[in-house]
Symmetry: C4
Subunit: 227 residues, 4 copies
């Protein structure tokens, strides 16, 4: 069964270069098997061009490597905290994709300026604060805890994305592929929001009723988009 | 005959990813057969990589699905209103192309800054207002009605493009291919207009006589561009 | 001999899509055979994907089509004026390349901000004024005459590029390939100049002595760049 | 042995077009063999599409061509000064990559706005002043000397990149491939820093403790990134 998981996670990882979300090794995807409590994740610092399905590393929710010839991604502890805090998610993605990272570096949440954003992400995409010097001692784990805290006042199912100040984005979804899908949406939305502000420096977020209309076209009991 | 229409609409849809106008399934093309009063349109939410000619859905101008294994695009009702209001058009395109959508999000019409714009689009490209909460109840249909209203004071033949505030663009043409062509032009014009304003924040639209010269090089009785 | 010219001009035209300088048919290259006084140019409005060497049109300096199955580019009269005014050039290019056209739409000359610019183009790249309504009656020809006038106070050999306000760029060179090369340089220089001003709104042109150093590394008796 | 060096330098040079860092011949990579005191470098002005391993030129640290059918890169004297001043480096890269060159033209150092930057480059990326008219007489050599002077107050191992005002970037590394790697990082970081300032004109550099955390995840005795 975990061979299948490794293959899926390999394929989800390979979508990151396909969609132009990574330079070199600056990104990683994981997917969890909730029954066994184990997840597969990209090995740390291995080039995408050389990656193979069998290189994926199996880790449990205590951070123990269960199987694999490589060290797991250095961001593994962040993935673990997200799997713990968000019980219904099955996949997590981290990238340094260019536009989302530019917003993270700017330290701003991304306002919802239109329906492309509203179709997938309900409201402004939050940007969490820097870690304190004390928190930096356990950097990757505390990054995950900080994100989890943010989502005590936000709905992780309706907002499957976050920016970490001066760092970059994390996204999630029901599995690794949906988490990648959300990473692509985030990058496109981040790009259009920045350009939108250039075109109209006085722009305000889209009306709430339009955002609701679009979000609920695709989500919930009355969704009617797709097959 | 409608097999031929499906094939054409499939091919026109496949031009959207070719020209970089869509991410995932965020766009659709339709083309109408005016004799039968039916049009073919992309199915809702089906990935471009998996799309086949036989997947196109045939719909009549009352919105009834005449033939097809899938639900038609969720924007079908907008296409219908445009076919009803604009009697000489044969094709309609909707995308979330990046630059045109950024202008739509900014809520601004695109001024005509040069001949690239004037060659195809006569005057500023309009941006229609948000729908009211009441209008949102029949969202896609009222989007089409709002566009049609805008073109009571504008010539849909000379201006085959519109932006919907906080949403994105629609374009049209004598058939599906020309509608796609206009979607490509719109995106390029939107990009250059935004950059032009960055380079010169005091820029004003191009002189009317230059715009007339270029528009009528390509359109009307005295056109002399092309073969 | 003119078969060879057609082939060269075909190949030079095909470099425009290769270098991303054209959308659809928005560009054209010509090259002249000074002995016969004839030049080959792209036919008007024919798609690059369908173009063949034998489609090139041979025109003389009076604008008479000497050979060809198609009408020549609608910009032919501009090419003629440039060949007449600039006796040592052998090729001319017109495009609507995105960044150069954005500067043309902004109505600004492109200041020389660095050595990439100085390596090929000596000084600021001029932007000529709009034609008057009277001049627009013979639009393409008067565009060429206006450019030629500009270069009575500028050296066409040291500055093989010009912007036409609210329109786009023309470049030239010793043959069609060099004219295309200069069109690529212009687009790259236009892009970097715009971004440079975004990064530093107070930026001033590069020092004259640095520009001289770079220009004369590549041009004139003491050039030492290349083989 | 030097055949192997030529092959490596050829391959490192070919990465520049692969990563989109060069237009035409606007870039060069060298790598040194410290034992023999010779380095291989790209020939001057030869197109990347035509380049072969045997075209690389072998030069010693006095600038004498030891082997090769071509003249070495016109920037050879700069490479020599860097190899002399920075004893532990093995490779040098020069490009006119678009974003890094835009910062160089703007005459600004690139502030460290995030972890993508901090992972590879410790602190702000310096921008050295213009050469004086006197210094321009020995342009390429004095460019190298000026860079070396800058790094008397900066650590060339922790900051393997520099911008030359109104010109462009140089990067270096333990070999030619690492120098290219750093050139790619620099371009990405330059792009995101410019966009970050557009998104937030009041942005300040990332906190020092976060930068230290990221830099030392990848460098030094306690590094834990990668295998």
């Amino acid at each position: 069964m975990l061979e299948e998981l490794k293959k899926r996670v390999y394929e989800a990882n390979m979508l990151l270069p396909k969609y132009g979300l990574v330079t070199f090794t600056w990104g990683n995807v994981s997917e969890i098997d909730r029954e066994s409590g184990c997840f597969a994740i990209k090995p740390s610092g291995v080039e995408y061009e050389l990656l193979k399905p069998e290189d994926m590393v199996i880790v449990d929710l205590n951070g123990k490597v269960v199987e694999g010839n490589y060290k797991p991604s250095s961001d593994t502890a962040t993935h673990i905290e997200l799997y713990r805090a968000f019980p219904t998610i099955g996949g997590v993605v981290h990238t340094h994709s260019s536009w989302a990272t530019s917003w993270a570096q700017a330290g701003r949440e991304i306002p919802c300026y239109g329906t492309t954003h509203a179709d997938y992400l309900y409201g402004a995409i939050p940007c969490v604060r820097n870690l304190t010097e004390e928190e930096l001692k356990d950097y990757e784990r505390n990054t995950g805890i900080l994100i989890a805290e943010e989502f005590m006042k936000n709905d992780y199912k309706a907002m499957p994305a976050v920016l970490c100040k001066n760092h970059g984005p994390f996204t999630w979804g029901k599995d690794g592929f949906e988490a990648v899908h959300n990473a692509v949406v985030l990058e496109e939305v981040a790009k259009m929001a920045a350009r939108c502000e250039l075109i109209n420096s006085q722009v305000t977020p889209a009306p709430q009723e339009l955002l609701d209309k679009h979000y609920y076209r695709k989500h919930g009991a009355n969704a009617y988009y797709g097959q």
